[in-house]
């Protein structure tokens, strides 16, 4: 085939090029959030479609055909607290009430543990305020044996999975009943039985491990799937990109979640996202179906999770989900957001509060009332306080009741090698 004119033109050495003007000095672009402390919160740049507007494709859809889902937001609950559109309708009243209880329990537990940290009963805590729907709703789409590779803000996976609040508190207190023997920072839980992989605390490292776990399940012709979790900020790590490459190449039965809560400690999501329209759009280059979901909408998160899990279970490969939400609280007990964002920003967050939204929906359905909600809130607080008290009877961080120094030497290897035995002797434990 002869060269086209264009190619010929571009390639021709005889073509005369006009001399460029002297180059202007280059300037570095550093993204900035719309508002800083003292300013008026502004989320006008976040495009939020009306609930029920986004199509629900079949799970075996060609990823190319749903590229637009990476730029929209799947929402079920509308302003009148009704469940609308093709993603609505999967959950019964009792399932929704259970979901509400899970979120309320997580919120109450957070409040108590946050206070316990302030009282010096532990060193550190991380709460979920505003993000409760993401992990609580997702958990209900999983089956026994599936494995989550969570970050530190998905304790809803444990609570909605029936894990004991006492054990959670014991881990936070690093006491004699801490299932992890005081070796891990508070909230870095682990429970194989509850499909909750040991939290590393290093960001992003576990995203690729979720892909490996899923590949192992496929290698063994098992039926279990894996679920990876990452925050908006940590998507910048190489591990995120490696996970997408491997998940795409081997069509791993994995669901890869990005929890975009707008803030990575003090860094707004634009720093990690760069020029890309959305975090979900990162999946498109890998041929991975990518969806964005209203992370403060319990019904929407659950519906999208079900869709993605079914894809994985039917050997259709990975799905990338961006949960659009907002971190209402501080990053951790060591952080104060007043230094980097307006104090009232969370009130302006356009997707509302996940607990209130589900509560209002249940009221609209005729399955709930303000009185019952208040009553349940009080019951849950009692349950949480009694779990906390039981945990405290086994000790708190600075009490006498804590894992022994001997425990510190155990479990580095399956069998203690001679050099560690000598060191334990030297320590006199």
């Amino acid at each position: 085939m002869p060269d086209s004119d264009l190619t010929h033109d571009t390639m021709s050495p005889r073509r005369e090029v006009a001399p460029s003007p002297a180059p202007a000095p280059l300037k570095l672009h550093v993204p900035e959030p719309a508002v800083r402390p003292g300013g008026t919160p502004d989320f006008s740049n976040i495009r939020i479609p009306r609930a029920g507007q986004v199509d629900r494709p079949s799970v075996d859809v060609d990823p190319e055909a749903i590229r637009d889902l990476a730029f929209s937001v799947i929402r079920v609950l509308n302003r009148d607290s009704e469940a609308v559109g093709p993603w609505a309708g999967a959950l019964s009243d009792s399932e929704l009430l259970e979901g509400l209880r899970h979120m309320m329990t997580l919120r109450a537990f957070d409040a108590r543990m946050q206070m316990a940290q302030r009282q010096g009963k532990t060193s550190f805590y991380m709460q979920h305020m505003g993000e409760e729907a993401v992990s609580c709703a997702f958990r209900k789409a999983l089956l026994p044996g599936d494995m989550n590779f969570p970050t530190y803000r998905q304790a809803g996976l444990l609570i909605a999975g029936g894990y004991s609040l006492v054990e959670m508190a014991c881990q936070i207190y690093s006491n004699t009943h801490d299932p992890l023997k005081g070796r891990q920072l508070p909230v870095m839980y682990s429970s194989r039985e509850h499909g909750f992989f040991s939290i590393s605390g290093n960001l992003a490292t576990q995203y690729i491990q979720a892909v490996g776990w899923a590949m192992a399940s496929a290698i063994k012709n098992d039926t279990k799937i894996a679920v990876g979790w990452i925050g908006d900020g940590a998507t910048a790590e190489s591990d995120f990109h490696a996970a997408l490459v491997f998940a795409s190449t081997y069509r791993a039965p994995v669901v890869l979640n990005i929890v975009n809560n707008q803030w990575a400690i003090s860094t707004f999501q634009g720093i990690a996202r760069g020029g890309s329209g959305t975090f979900a759009a990162r999946g498109l280059g890998f041929g991975i179906p990518a969806l964005r979901v209203d992370g403060n909408d319990y019904l929407a998160v659950h519906a999208v999770a079900k869709w993605a899990c079914e894809r994985a279970r039917r050997n259709l490969g990975p799905t990338l989900i961006e949960h659009v939400t907002y971190r209402v609280g501080a990053h951790s007990t060591s952080d104060d957001p007043a230094g980097y964002r307006p104090k009232t920003e969370s009130d302006a967050w356009p997707l509302g509060d996940p607990v209130i939204r589900l509560k209002n929906h249940l009221i609209v359905r005729g399955a709930w009332s303000e009185e019952r909600h208040k009553q349940t809130e009080a019951e849950i607080l009692d349950t949480v306080i009694s779990a906390q008290k039981e945990a405290e009877s086994y000790g708190t961080l600075h009490s006498e009741q804590r894992p022994t120094a001997r425990d510190m030497f155990e479990g580095v290897f399956a069998e203690m090698p001679p050099h560690l035995r000598r060191q334990r002797q030297e320590a006199g434990v």
Partner: protein, 337 residues
């Protein structure tokens, strides 16, 4: 018993373990169809299928990262990093994840994986195909580090590594793949087919991790070495005529300190040899352990012969490499002290 090169012995170890345990999976860059750039996995994909032996994208962090997930699931990945020099992107997955998973989850999740990496120089590989990063692994709690020096050990140690319940870094001195390199780069290497240690047992046999081997008995001085330097040290002992005892450590962690201690107490002298750079190298650890254990038996300061503290050069490879002449000078120095 079959005569094998080190590559053949390594391949045989993986073959034996893949046939005994269908949880053993082998993967890495060029590892599947082609069988690896050094051909260590040749034929394994054809024999065990693509889900047991496969090619991966060029991502060392990805290779080790998925291996951690697979090991946590219950498989036994035996993965290849094409050159140890390329392992740095995977280092976080090794140090923060594989090494600590058992500890931080209190045994709920474990990480029985093997990371094989060709190590060391002597092939004109320049700075990206010659490094010896063993001390970066021995400094990490929760992983074992193994360096074989011959085909027989390579097979027996690799089988132990794959059977081990914890992560193992398996460093293969690439200069030894075809024969016991004696340190004289201008001479032809004797092939393993003409060497006793090229005689490798067939089928399953394991050499426990943490047991050293005495390669040459002697009474004048103890040489502590591993990998390629075992053979180079032997040349130096032969050429100087010094009655050196050479201990091949085989496994750096766990370390067979008892064998080391017994030998140094017998000879009263100790020279430590490694290819890796000197400062903060594994030799420093050995030196500290020997002086603590054997101080009152020592007749001379412990000496270390190692790679110079420069990046691994290309044209100057044989100026850099701690060859028989440098080791010989150290042996004479310790004897004269």
């Amino acid at each position: 018993m079959t005569r094998r090169t080190m590559i053949e012995a390594i391949r045989d170890a993986m073959d034996v373990m893949m046939s005994r345990d269908d949880g053993v999976v082998v993967f890495g860059e060029d590892v599947g169809y082609f069988g690896g750039v050094f051909r260590a996995s040749q034929g394994l994909q054809a024999k065990y299928g693509t889900s047991r032996c496969f090619d991966t994208p060029i991502s060392e962090l990805g290779i080790v990262g998925i291996a951690v997930g697979m090991a946590a699931y219950g498989l036994k990945p035996c993965v290849e990093i094409q050159f140890a020099d390329y392992m740095y992107p995977a280092y976080d997955q090794i140090v923060s994840e594989a090494a600590r998973l058992r500890y931080r989850s209190n045994g709920q999740f474990t990480c029985p994986l093997v990371v094989r990496m060709p190590t060391g120089g002597g092939i004109f590989g320049g700075q990206t195909h010659s490094q010896s990063p063993e001390a970066l692994f021995t400094h990490v709690c929760g992983i074992k580090t193994v360096v074989p020096s011959n085909p027989r050990d390579a097979k027996g140690l690799l089988i132990s590594a794959i059977e081990d319940p914890d992560p193992v870094i398996f460093l293969e001195p690439k200069r030894l793949y075809n024969g016991p390199f004696d340190g004289h780069h201008d001479r032809t290497v004797t092939p393993w087919s003409k060497h006793d240690l090229g005689e490798v047992d067939d089928g399953h046999f394991a050499i426990p991790l943490g047991s050293a081997a005495i390669r040459r008995e002697g009474n004048a001085v103890t040489i502590l070495a591993y990998g390629t330097m075992v053979h180079v040290a032997e040349t130096a002992a032969n050429e100087t005529g010094i009655d050196a005892e050479i201990i091949d450590l085989r496994s750096l962690l766990p370390l067979d300190l008892d064998t080391i201690e017994a030998s140094v107490k017998k000879t009263g002298r100790c020279v430590i040899v490694h290819e890796a750079t000197l400062t903060s190298g594994f030799g420093a650890e050995l030196c500290a352990l020997v002086q603590t254990r054997c101080f009152y038996h020592l007749e001379a300061p412990i000496l270390r012969v190692a790679g110079w503290d420069t990046p691994y050069p290309h044209a100057q490879e044989w100026d850099y490499f701690p060859g028989p002449a440098r080791i010989g000078r150290a042996l004479i120095e310790t004897m004269e002290a």
